[in-house]
Amino acid sequence: MQRADITKDNLQLGARAAKVTWLAGAIGLVAIAAAVLLGLLSSDGGESFATAYLTAFVFFLTLALGALFFVLLQHVTGAGWGVVVRRPAEAIAGVFPLFAVLSIPLLFNLHSIYPWAGGEAASDHVLAGKAAYLNVPFFLIRWIAYFGIWSLMASYFRRTSARQDGSGDPALTIKMERLSAPGMVVFALTATFFSFDVLMSRDPHWYSTIYGVYLFSGSVVGFCAVLPLLTLSLQRWGRIQHAVTREHYHDLGKLTFAFVVFWAYIAFSQFMLMWYSNIPEETSWYLRRLSGPWSGFSLILLLGHFVIPFWLLISRGVKRRPATLAFAASWVLLMHLLDVYWLTMPESSPTSLGFSLMHVLCLAGVGALMIAAVTYNLSRSALIPVGDPRLDESLSFENV
């Protein structure tokens, strides 16, 4: 196969971006305002709003974390194949400042999300023992650190790569490769402790050392599903039509497959060890998820997040056809949403699934704002890193 010819490709998002950004931004703000309003009117002290908002916030944020990981991974391995899809990943990873702002409603509702932040913490001696870590001021400090670090990292790699568009300077690639390795260490630390803070401490008695890996694996699965959907939409809009080929989609499909299996491995490891050891303080978390309506939900997760995508994505044909890949990716994305929902909701709604209009509003709101931010980021530079020294390799990439 020859190097793909991108001379006729439209590599700029152009005026289209502004329209999408404004429209999505407006929808997002309206939806979130409606959710806040609904929360204020409800009699539960904002708890239903806070938990629904948390679900949406974490779901979309994990996609950005997956994107940041992908960008770091591309640099740290010096990968060639993925150069043409790195810009969309950089754009998704560029939403951390937005999420820092979007976290304000959460931070005002910590008491209704986390038992350790509420009134009952004082009377619980286990929580008293953890108070040195689980307290509001320290939580806020960590929160600021996470978002500051992620924003800086994402912005550094996006800007450096954009700078290379003009100069084509290979030294910039080497610089990014050098920084990506310590970047991975920082990413691992922040993502792990973030997962403990934002979701694991929803049940502050419960703990699992693999929890960070679990949320990480789900994040990458979600991102791997979003990336082909985003590039397919860009191609649908007449952009980067020759640059991204079925070979790249095939590889993205393989990556999704690999992380679906990795997720299942991590999920099984955690479940197996807790089920087998049967220690009450650990099994309580699973008991909640395996009783009542949640047991069916867990089964759906097992089938939908592992078995079905496994058989879907093992096929070469499915990964290479845009329509089937788009279906598989949408399915996997939906399952990642269910996974986040399953991680978040049973603590506040143990006897029912607790799904309400609030979830729809929050998901629509955060999601629309994310779309606005991603399109805005995409419009700031070319849609593929035209100055990357490995662009040619990526353009002529072919699976064996």
């Binding site: 196969m1 020859q2 190097r3 010096g78 060639g80 194949w81 286990v126 023992g129 953890k130 870590y133 084509g168 290979p170 690639t173 080497i174 490769e177 390795a181 991975m184 260490v185 691992a188 630390l189 792990t192 403990f196 008695h205 703990y207 699992s208 050392t209 693999i210 929890y211 960070g212 890996v213 299996v261 491995y265 991590i266 490891s269 955690q270 197996m272 060890l273 807790m274 087998y276 050891s277 220690i279 303080e281 990357d388 020294p389 490995r390 040619d392 390799e393 002529s396 990439f397 072919e398 064996v400």
Partner: protein, 489 residues
Amino acid sequence: MKTAIPDSTVDDPRVRPELILGGNDFTTVTDKVAGLMERPRPPRAWYIAFAVSLALTGVLVAMIGYLVLTGVGVWGLNNPVGWGFDITNFVFWVGIGHAGTLISAILFLFRQKWRTSINRFAEAMTIFAVVCAGLFPAIHVGRIWLAWWLFPLPNQQQVWPNFRSPLLWDVFAVSSYMFVSLMFWYMGMIPDLATLRDRAKTKVRQIVYGIFSLGWRGSNRQWHRYERAYLLLAALATPLVVSVHSVVSFDFAASQLPGWHTTVFPPYFVAGAIFSGFAMVMMLIIPARQYFGLKDIVTMRHLDNMSKIILATGSMVGFAYAIEFFMAWYSGNPYEMFTFLNRAMGPYSWAYWIMVSCNVLTPQLFWFKKLRGSIPVLFVASILINVGMWFERFVIIVTSLSRDFLPGSWLSYTPTYVEILTFAGSFGLFFTLFLLFVRYLPMVAMAEVKSVMPQAHLEEGIHKGLGDYWGDMPQQHGEKGGHHRGGKS
């Protein structure tokens, strides 16, 4: 042989570095690798090493004989510490045995073509390490003549094994791994055995290599299925290799013992296994490439790549130590907290700090390119890492067992000379097998190395820069980089 080998570790994102240096072509690669086995006799150093290894193997046999004739009382095990050197050695050797399949299977799936120079070597190491590993659970069961009860075979008591026990999963995991690794290794070797057959000068060699090469004739209709089978085996071996050390970790983590029961064990054990396996490959390949004149096939870039993997996996291991420590505190469980403090400050703290300094601090040297390029640093670091990884298993097993929930039942553990000599003897077995391997079998996968050399590809057309790792990328601005190769085209 060329004396000056160019430096292929320089980072230039515009060009993929060449994998095989020194102006080799297909003929010289074949001559160089096959020639090693065709010499009438190996160098004197081989005989010395073989004699030492064989003597140590004799020690192993003697110690096992003593153990069988006397009973496990000859070891230092006691009531709380029912696992000591035996299981430490088992996990240590299984861990070593992970690099081979990682290099052959996972790096294959990741299109890391540099693996071809070292995969045969690492696969052989895997198999010998698994042989050593399998020994220890078999001899620690007490009445070892009944070890076959581990398998679901009909016996006169009409009892079946308990499949709900992690120890039985281990039997299945390790034996499947052994079998699949063996198939993978052998299948990879068939074309090379055919090369040896076709070059054989003596009748014995013709017959032996002839039988084991199965009549391979390099037909493309055969290669066509062979390559598919190789890909499928790689795709199967990848989850298998992950599962093996995960199952080994279940032996500990499925219990309720503080320090053993923690959910991060499966991925953390896998990372540690890869870490130690790569360190062992490094330790073995550094003298081998020196002695056998393979520096242009196993280049500094190969060592550089391996040390980066060691750094990555070593950091994962260090990260897991930190998370475990944090979670012991966060759990609020006094037994968990005690176990971890006891590790760092209790009677076995010396072992703990050996572990931390070897496993966490040593690989950090590899952040620096200069140190990654220094053979003495690489060699010493890889030995230290192996020491550290042995102590990791020792710390996990012994500290947790010797001081568990009830202080009244605490007891410390000291190995006897029998255990120490058995462990030393297992190295004898490992090196004996390894030395036989480098003497009689191709230690570099000739066919695979040839397939990643520039001459294996068309000048132009469908193979240009297909994510291959062999070079040939066009330069940034139009002009072609051309072939940066010696050798003839």
